[in-house]
């Protein structure tokens, strides 16, 4: 298989005060194939979220390079990285992060609108996606009127609506009960096969990691196993 994401010798640190610096990632290298589901597993503070942010181009490494779909993110301007993310990435977060002042339908349509889908296509796709996750009747609700599981399902279809090649999920089930967790995992699990989407999940959960094609183990900022 062709590697879709290539990480080479990544270092990342954050300054703490004026003198101390905390090393978050050190010498991380990995290749992730197109259409695969990979879990990055590690304890809290192991650097999972930072690695996810680097792959999404939300942050830049201090050293090393990241290639996504052949594009060197490090070499891009901030604007180019933003537009790359807009077109090719989808995000799912632990705390859902739906836009509170937009309805469910509007939240799902964000990615479609940003990627200039025409109104008819955007409406049709939104309807279909909402039906897929059984939320068609909640289209006009606001996020605070939904349960946690419903919000995460909306977050998931929002991330997928514009058909990104890469889905990044940061503890997507960390805030859900066991039944809902399984429902969401099932939806995510089907993506590589149905859409050829590359999925990278940051998690500390064994259950989530169990659904992955491959697991990258992260400890103290280093890859400790695969």
């Amino acid at each position: 298989m062709t590697p879709y994401v290539v990480l080479e010798d990544l270092d990342k640190h954050y300054a703490e005060g004026t003198t101390h610096r905390q090393v978050v990632l050190s010498g991380v290298s990995a290749q992730i194939d197109r259409g695969s589901l990979v879990a990055i597993r590690g304890r809290s503070g192991s650097g999972k979220s930072t690695l996810l942010n680097l792959i999404a181009g939300l942050d830049i490494p201090d050293r090393g390079s990241i290639r996504v779909g052949g594009e060197n993110l490090h070499a891009m301007t901030d604007r180019a990285r933003t537009l790359f993310r807009r077109r090719h990435c989808g995000f799912v977060f632990q705390f859902f992060n739906l836009i509170p002042v937009l309805t469910v339908r509007e939240n799902v349509m964000i990615g479609l609108e940003l990627n200039a889908f025409d109104d008819d296509t955007a409406s049709r796709k939104t309807r279909e996606l909402l039906a897929t996750v059984h939320l068609a009747d909640r289209a006009d609700s606001f996020p605070d009127q939904l349960s946690g599981g419903e919000q995460q399902r909306v977050a998931l279809i929002r991330a997928l609506a514009h058909e990104p090649r890469l889905l990044l999920a940061d503890e997507p089930t960390g805030n859900l009960d066991a039944t809902t967790e399984l429902e969401i995992l099932d939806l995510i699990r089907r993506l590589p096969g149905e859409r050829n989407t590359t999925v990278i999940i940051a998690t500390h959960s064994e259950l989530v990691a169990g659904h992955a094609d491959r697991v990258l183990l992260l400890g103290s900022g280093k890859l400790t196993g695969s």
Partner: protein
Amino acid sequence: MSLFFRATRRHLSRQPLLTMLSVTGTALGVAVVLAVDLVNHSALRAFQLAERAVSGDATHTIVPASSNIPDTFYRDLRVEYGFQESAPRVTGTVRTPNGRTLQVLGIDPLAGLSNSPLGRRSPESRIDPGVLIATKNAVVLTIPTARNLGVSSGDNLAVTGGGRQHALKVIGLLGGGGAAVEGLRHVLVVDVSTAQVLLDKIGGLSRIDLRLDRRERRRLESLLPASLELRASGSRSHAMEQMTRAFRMNLSALSLLALLIGAFLIYNTQTLFVLNRRETLAVWRTLGITRPQIVAMVIAEAVWLALAGGLLGCLAGMGLSRVLLDLVTRTIDDLYFSLQVTNIALDPVSIAKAYGLGLAAAMSAAALPALEASRIQSRLALSRSHVESSARRIRRVGVAVAVPMWLLAATILSVSQRSVAAGFSALFFIVAGFAFLVPGGLRVITRCAIPVLERCFGWMGLWSARNILASMSRTQIAVTALTIALAATIGVSVMIQSFRLTVVHWLDNYLRADIYISRVEDNGASMPPGLLRRLRRQPGVDAMHTGRWRRLPTEGEPTRLFVLNVNARGFENFQLVNRTNRNAWRAFSTDDAVMVSESYAYHHRLEPGDPLGLPTAQGDHRFTVIDVFHDYRSDRGRVVMHRDIYARYWNDPVIESIAVYLAPGTDGERFLADIEGEMLRGSGLVARSNRKIKNASLEIFDRTFAVTEVLRLLTLIVACIGILSALVAIQLDRSKEFAVLRASGLTRGELARVMMIEGGVMGTASAILSIPLGIALAAVLVFVINKRSFGWSMQLSLPWEPIFTALILGLVAGAVAAIYPAWRMNRQLPIANLRHE
């Protein structure tokens, strides 16, 4: 992008209070700027319309150097010299029984100019000129004026003029609308001879309007005696604009201060909006919204609010202008010339200017929060600690920014010797520089207050102080805005009080005579023959001085010459600025020398020893300036000449005023009653004690600054809204924290007290910080702005009252602003906030 902006709009609608506060800040700023601009514009326009309505399409005007033009000169002008296109005017003021002042315009309706006020009406309202001349005491007025006075055609109208009562007969009303009618508002149009009787100007004319081509102008100039001056029409309007420029600029500067405070409020609100949405903004960035789009969104948000605020501000400004109109008109009337304005001219340029300024202020104020918002990126949400570290950065760079700004202010002041605008620029940099020190000052004051707060309020005091220190990003802007507003309050109050004390001191020195006699109407007529002799014979009179006002046609604007017959004792009434000439009195009474007032010296760049050329009856002559004296009668200044010197160059025996010094032990009130009964009854003269004149002068002084007080109050209101918005934001941001505390047993009363202590500490810190800035502002206003605007120097006195008032205001403003957030917080169930998120 539409969803992005839709989300922005909804966010605003979900934060109605903050949104409303931001809109109110803009609205108040725009309202004050617009109101002042409209009033200034309306006053100028009213004057120009009145001028145009009176002069019509006359190209030139002959005016007297002093008092009146003999009406024989008008006859000569037409008959001997052949200037047919000319028209005489007699102008002045009369009062109605209820104290209302009306302008009198005496015209010759049959005179050569075709555009007399009567001739330009619509056919249906045209008045027969013959009736105006033939009917005794006939008057014509505009329909709006008649409506205001409650009279109609055929009615009698009682007025007092020249010290006597008159019954006028309304023979017709002028209608037709338009600028011409508006220019004749408050004007009684009468025949020339009626006006001369009404105004006690028998045989005199106020001016002659003419239409001249270049050749005729040159011919007329060669014919005019030295006592008359030929001016181009419109020069009076121009002179009026020049005279009131400094006054209007001071008002505009104060109104811009309100807008500046409003901009702080917008900055504060936008920062709060960004803070409240930092997580949502991070999501947008993750989903692919670029930094410029975030910047555009925050600025667009500020612009939307400013559009709404500007609209409300324009409406409020129009209303406020009506309140300010009376105050400003009265001040111009008191200080410069007779002016009555009842209508606000809704000038589209003023409205566009105020609206544009509001938008520009909003955009500038939103720029920093917008940039801050665009930095939100990598770790999904900008952490509060990051925001607080930005606030700390501002605090750390405070001195580094303040000192260069103050150096810049000092440079501007030293480079620009006379520019008022440069003075205000320096003032702006002083304020802006100090603004950067406020965050550091707030921190120091709050830290110092901790032991006191703990002793007074226990753990609540301690907690409140720590809350302020932990939330500097929200509190420091509000405290800065309130500090500037309070400093403006102190600065303006100290300046006014210093000015007042200076004027009181000056009046005490200058008005040393016991009784002053002058004409009721300032018509340039002389005192009745024999009055001086009779007064001298009156028991109790120790000495007398006489005065005579002349207006000399000098370049730029006319020079006011005061001719004084005074002895050495009276000469000491003048407070000389330099006192370099030991023989000043001898020089004044015997040499070709004059004294000039401080304003005159400033405007004409004169110093002791300088020559001053004046047009005398014998041609131009150079006089020597002996010294400059303090004088606060008028900001245009005057020249004072001894009567003996005056008599060398003018053959003019007219005496217009008499100052009487009473012998020690004489009862002034009784003397006044005696001469009023015996000598002055029915003479058109009035006698006033020096106390009465002092009181009247101080009344005018206080009226002059009434408009300043209103503007100051409005500025303070804007700043209080700033504190309110900061406290509301704290409440919003910490609602969960408060809910946890409520759930843990904190009572509603305790929570309210904590918030009010926080507000009080913020207000008190603002007040303390405002004291040095306020004193600095007062010093600049007294020594720079006033000097450059009016040429007056004054003593800076530091009364405690404005400083104490500012302290109380700060404390109360902070505590009062906390009432609403505390009440709102207490209304919410803790569980609601705990469930949130």
